[in-house]
């Protein structure tokens, strides 16, 4: 894909008309322009999103927009919709270029398309950045063909025609629907064409708030997730899992007995445990609970939080010699956290007759297809992978653990299966955000910052889902030396908006054996939280206002603007009662800028609110959040993503963690793992979307987590007078009674009618 200047300021883009019986227009995915900057910070020369988009260039296939005879426009998006709103924003891009009503644009999710290589990976908040222009180019090609077809039909030059409400309209008011033109506009040959895109000042859809395209299906129960699909013969299946992380099944004492239980059709040992298949999931749960299995120890047998913490301390890269000037230092600990979505890991697999068909919500479907083919001993082209709508991801669906299991089980028993993880499985054996420490030293002379060093040390983050491959492929071309995947990822995801003198931020990872993953916003929430707390310490030390101090250190106008906006809208500095306080924090990433101002109530009456089987604790009472996403496609969707990120940030700072004890996590339910609940939700949340500052959208799906977590931590520190150093702050108190690990899942209660 190339773009050329015509010399009059309008860019022309190359697209394709494909040979087809109806109009099919196409484009290649292309890179967003690299952010140029004078600062020495490498993340401002090229960030992770540039890596992901540049990686796509030489290898990507075409994406296709099809106009049907019924006047609808169809597009199979090579990304996963997991709640982030990309089917809606994509439909908006197409509606803009083709001037069709949004409800006539059908956006579906593409099956795994190996020819797209790196370009079917949903992560790094990259979807809109990478697809914004190509989707519009494909739609613009379709528009051009429709106008030409209408011109021939009406005998009016194309220049005298316009598109409106799904029709081409002539100067005398003549009108032909695009459906009636679709066959005429089709092409017998595939050829390249040049198009111009709708100019920003003419946008009628992009930038205006729009509700989700699937909102009605979601509220009527019609939205279809993997578990709701009716695949013939795919009966429910579950796995009896080990009592420790990644333990292995030895012998099964009562396999025949369990196989004879009501509804049970199959019992089989697979690589991750003992699988059962039955008529209903209820009978699967009963069978899993009845199995008597001898387990071999797992990959982190005997290890607890303190052991991991000791390893992290040992693996930390030294800060070096302490400078002679005053320093502010801190060591922060972040315990394991779960990125389990509300939809547990699940997949449908039908592996028979040398073929495999898989249905699952997958953010890296090509890697999944390759891995499943390898596991089954099948050629890759004998494995079909359908990407279904996902019930949340938060990084979890970059992995395909359930799809691998379902495929293995289906092959083994020769029957289709609908495999689901129990909630307890999802918490105990699922992917986690690695435990980490962050050591920070800031040196200063008065209020001049001379240097900033941060040493982030974590349990290894598993990036082996495609993102790692992208980075490997590109790292050799970039001036980053021989860093590992993770170090490269870390470097490219951690932008530094402040001028902090001689600055270095290094990542060290240690330890294997945990099932880790890229939880929403990956390293940034922890890294940012530590940095912002240290800035608050510096402010206290130098008797400066935390907002003013930050403002003085910011070199980027967009960052200053979001910070100013929350300070003003949130009445920064207003008088508040003892035990309550404000906190303010900033985060830039994904070519976007964000700031959060929060108010927290740490008074005993609030902390001690009684809630059955829940953690109340300090309550965030108000959040004002400002976001500059460059160019906002759908303000309503962007606001939703910010709100969700705020809820994540509150949980990370205050309540949610996993406790590792003797090789297993103690948590097994949502009443053990304390993600934000209604009683933790701020009554007052305000998201401010800044005016566009760019012609290109930035990323947003993960953006809000870091600034929110940091602002909550800063507010807590100011309300209590003590800087928090372990997160979440309540990790030291076990607020629930751990459930047994044998059997691995709890029984379903029977008192639902009376409780």
């Amino acid at each position: 894909m190339t773009a050329q200047s015509t010399g009059v300021g309008r860019r022309r883009f190359l697209g394709y008309v494909l040979a087809a019986p109806t109009l099919v227009a196409a484009a290649q995915l292309l890179p967003a322009p690299a952010a140029a900057g004078e600062a020495a910070d490498i993340t401002e020369l090229v960030d992770l999103n540039d890596l992901m988009t540049v990686a796509a260039l030489p290898t990507s296939g075409l994406i296709r927009v099809e106009v049907g005879g019924d006047g609808t426009v169809s597009f199979a998006l090579p990304r996963a919709e997991v709640g982030q709103g990309i089917t809606t924003s994509t439909a908006m891009l197409i509606a803009e270029e083709l001037a069709v009503p949004l409800d006539r644009v059908r956006v579906t999710l593409a099956d795994a398309r190996p020819e797209l290589i790196f370009n079917q990976l949903t992560g790094g908040s990259n979807t809109t950045i990478a697809t914004y222009t190509p989707i519009r180019v494909a739609a613009a090609v379709a528009r051009q063909r429709l106008l030409a077809a209408a011109s021939a039909e009406l005998g009016v030059p194309a220049g005298g025609l316009t598109m409106k409400d799904g029709a081409v309209v002539g100067p005398a008011g003549q009108s032909i629907g695009i459906g009636a033109l679709a066959a005429e506009a089709a092409s017998a040959t595939t050829h390249q064409v040049q198009v111009e895109l709708t100019q920003r000042r003419s946008f009628a859809v992009i930038g205006r708030p729009h509700g989700r395209v699937d909102a009605r299906d979601a509220v009527t129960g019609r939205k279809t997730f993997t578990m709701d699909l009716d695949v013939p013969g795919a009966k429910p299946a579950m796995v009896c899992r080990p009592p420790t992380i990644n333990g292995k099944a030895g012998s099964v004492a009562n396999l025949a007995e369990v196989a004879a239980m009501p509804g049970v059709t199959d019992v089989a040992v697979i690589s991750t445990g003992v699988a059962v298949r039955a008529d209903t999931f209820g009978q699967c749960i009963d069978a899993v609970r009845a199995l008597r299995v001898t387990w071999r120890p797992g990959t982190v047998a005997g290890r607890s939080d303190d052991d991991v913490l000791r390893d992290l301390r040992a693996a930390e890269i030294p800060l070096g010699i302490r400078p002679p000037t005053p320093v502010v230092e801190g060591l922060f600990t972040f315990y394991f956290r779960g990125n389990s979505a509300l939809e547990t890991n699940c997949a449908i697999a039908d592996v028979r007759d040398g073929r495999a068909e898989i249905w699952s919500s997958l953010k890296s479907p090509i890697v999944a297809q390759q891995a499943i083919a390898a596991r089954l001993g099948l050629p890759q082209d004998r494995v079909t992978v359908h990407v279904t709508e996902g019930g949340g991801s938060f990084g979890r669906k970059l992995f395909f653990d359930a799809a691998l299991e379902a495929a293995e089980l289906s092959q083994k028993i020769g029957k289709a299966v609908k495999l689901m993880w129990h909630r307890a499985d999802d918490v105990r054996q699922g992917r986690v955000h690695p435990m980490a420490t962050s050591r920070v030293r800031l040196s200063h002379l008065g209020d001049t910052v001379l240097g900033y060093q941060q040493r982030h040390t974590g349990v290894s983050t598993d990036l082996g889902h495609g993102l790692g491959e992208i980075i490997t492929a590109l790292a050799a071309r970039l001036p980053v030396g021989d860093m590992t995947f993770a170090q490269t990822f870390f470097h490219f995801s951690q932008s530094m908006p402040y001028t902090l003198g001689v600055s270095s931020r290094l990542l060290s990872e240690t330890g294997k054996g945990f099932n880790t993953g890229s939880m929403r916003n990956v390293y940034s929430p922890d890294v940012t939280c530590a940095r912002e707390l240290i800035l608050d310490q510096l402010a206290a030390r130098t008797r400066k206002d935390p907002y003013r101090l930050r403002r003085g250190l910011l070199h980027d106008a967009r960052a200053r603007a979001v910070l100013d906006r929350v300070a003003e809208a949130g009445s920064w500095g207003r008088a508040m009662p003892a035990g309550t306080a404000q906190g303010i924090a900033l985060h830039t990433e994904y070519k976007s800028a964000s700031a959060a101002l929060v108010e927290i109530d740490c008074r005993p009456a609030t902390v001690g609110r009684p809630i059955r089987d829940g953690v109340t604790g300090p309550r965030v009472t108000k959040v004002v959040f400002a976001v500059d996403a460059g160019l906002t496609v759908n303000p309503r969707g962007l606001e939703a993503q910010m709100t969700g990120g705020i809820m994540d940030g509150i949980a990370l700072a205050l309540t949610s963690s996993l406790h590792l004890r003797d090789g297993a996590f103690l948590e097994a339910s949502w009443d053990d793992y304390f993600y934000t609940r209604q009683w933790n939700t701020p009554p007052d949340v305000r998201v401010i979307i800044m005016p566009d500052t760019s012609d290109q959208p930035g990323g947003a799906g993960e953006l809000a987590v870091a600034a929110s977590m940091a602002a909550v931590a800063c507010a807590y520190g100011r309300a209590t007078g003590t800087m928090p150093t372990t997160f979440p702050i309540n990790h030291g108190t076990l607020s629930f009674t751990p459930k047994p690990t044998v059997p691995p899942v709890p029984p379903s209660p029977v008192d639902g009618l009376t409780r």
């Binding site: 578990m227 429910p236 990120g645 705020i646 339910s669 639902g752 409780r755």
Partner: protein, 156 residues
């Protein structure tokens, strides 16, 4: 196997399953009613919230043998009449509440139950009422849920 007869969304059904199979699986795996979602199986996450005789329950924790022929089970699919949307569903759309949408059928059924209970007490919804909702939303749509419940309540 024993047969159990009850009503689902206005229609009488008879199912032939062991009595201890929980209602959630009878709805989803036997009857193909997939609006109620699985989220935990132990009456904690509330993703499967539906109504039995107008009262919110978690079907994951109701053995099918507990149901009697006259009992009316209402899932999200049966909340509205034939004319379209229940006011709470409309409020959910108006406030663009859903993100992934997985928990939202349960959230809406819980919201309708809450509004009915509060109305029966002759008072308006308070922040404490909203704080007491236990349904999990891992996408963090809680603020919009609170707005939608207040709006939906006015139209119920």
């Amino acid at each position: 196997m024993p047969e159990y007869t009850f009503r689902v969304n206005g229609e009488q059904v008879t199912v032939d399953v062991p009595g201890d199979v929980r209602l959630l699986w009878v709805l989803r795996d036997v009857l193909g009613v997939t609006g109620p979602k699985y989220g935990c199986g132990i009456n904690v996450c509330k993703a499967c919230t539906s109504h039995v005789n107008g009262k919110a329950v978690s079907p994951c924790s109701v053995p099918v043998s507990e149901l009697r022929p006259g009992d009316e089970v209402t899932t999200i699919e049966g909340l509205a009449g034939d004319d379209g949307l229940h006011p709470m569903q409309q409020a959910w759309i108006d406030h663009d509440v859903s993100q992934c949408g997985y928990c939202q059928p349960g959230q809406i059924m819980a919201a309708v139950d809450l509004v009915r209970r509060v109305a029966a007490e002759g008072r308006a919804i308070t922040d404490d009422d909203l704080d007491g909702i236990r349904n999990i939303c891992r996408c963090g749509t809680y603020p919009r849920i609170r707005q939608a419940i207040r709006a939906g309540a006015e139209r119920m």
